[in-house]
């Protein structure tokens, strides 16, 4: 009688693995940790310090973004939050969209929205003009009082 071939070794090689899902999973965690710091500072500065929410106006924003580090901080926050949020939303779409088609459509919408928001947001942060002027060179109404009059 032949011995059973029950424990014959199987030839195999270690393959390169698709990193997409893992990468996003890690990103979700890393960005989460960084976001905690950023968002808490953001909230604290905007809502808790000084006059809280009522202090926020153009002047407040202008005051902040006058400093380059606030620009950097807010940009990083925007980017991470959007990527983190977008990926999170994409998880949800995957989970809840019933058909292949609706899944593809929703993912596309999400992707476009994310790109638009990120581009828009970064433009705003980086090209911010604390003392905007109109076509004639006059200051727009509402500019901060600190803007130089020339």
């Amino acid at each position: 009688m032949t011995a059973p071939e029950l424990s014959q070794p199987m030839p195999r090689t270690r393959k390169r693995m698709n990193a997409t899902y893992r990468w996003w999973w890690v990103f979700q965690r890393v960005s989460g940790v960084i976001l905690v710091v950023l968002i808490f500072t953001h909230l604290f500065v905007n809502l808790m310090m000084g006059d809280g929410v009522s202090q926020i106006d153009f002047a407040f924003v202008a005051g902040k973004w006058a400093a380059w580090y606030w620009q950097v901080i807010d940009f990083v926050m925007l980017l991470l939050a959007m990527l983190h949020g977008t990926n999170g939303m994409s998880y949800l779409i995957n989970d809840y969209a019933r058909s292949r088609r609706s899944r593809a459509i929703l993912q596309a919408i999400l992707g476009i929205a994310a790109v638009v928001i990120i581009v828009l947001g970064s433009l705003v942060i980086w090209t911010f003009e604390p003392c905007p002027v109109d076509a004639t060179g006059a200051f727009l109404p509402g500019v901060p009082s600190g803007c130089p009059f020339n």
Partner: protein, 110 residues
């Protein structure tokens, strides 16, 4: 807890979208921005804002719990306790924020 994390995540996401759009108005004109921001300074919106902060706090603390659970076996074994800690931190955070915020919203608008 998983549901809470999902719901808060989605809420924050939508807020963030709106928030970026309104902030981008600073590029349009200071007046437009101030106008929109001004409309946020109603008591109703103040409450919405409070809800938003609540969502962020919850999502953040719970997010940290999830990260901890994935990282350390100890946290994994004590995850139930960590859930309570998340709620406790959330309560503390809200206790620190709410009175001040509501004061600004209802009292300090002038």
């Amino acid at each position: 807890m998983w549901v809470v994390h999902r719901v808060t995540g989605v809420a924050i996401f939508f807020f963030l979208v709106v928030h970026v759009i309104d902030t981008s108005l600073v590029r349009v004109s200071p007046e437009a921005y101030n106008e929109v921001i001004g409309s946020y300074k109603t008591p109703l919106y103040g409450l919405v804002e409070a809800g938003l902060v609540a969502a962020i706090l919850l999502h953040a603390f719970n997010g940290l719990r999830v990260i901890a659970v994935d990282r350390w076996t100890w946290a994994l074994r004590h995850q139930r306790m960590l859930v309570w800690i998340v709620w406790a931190l959330f309560a503390v955070g809200m206790a620190g924020f709410l009175p001040r915020h509501l004061m600004h919203v209802f009292g300090g608008a002038a």
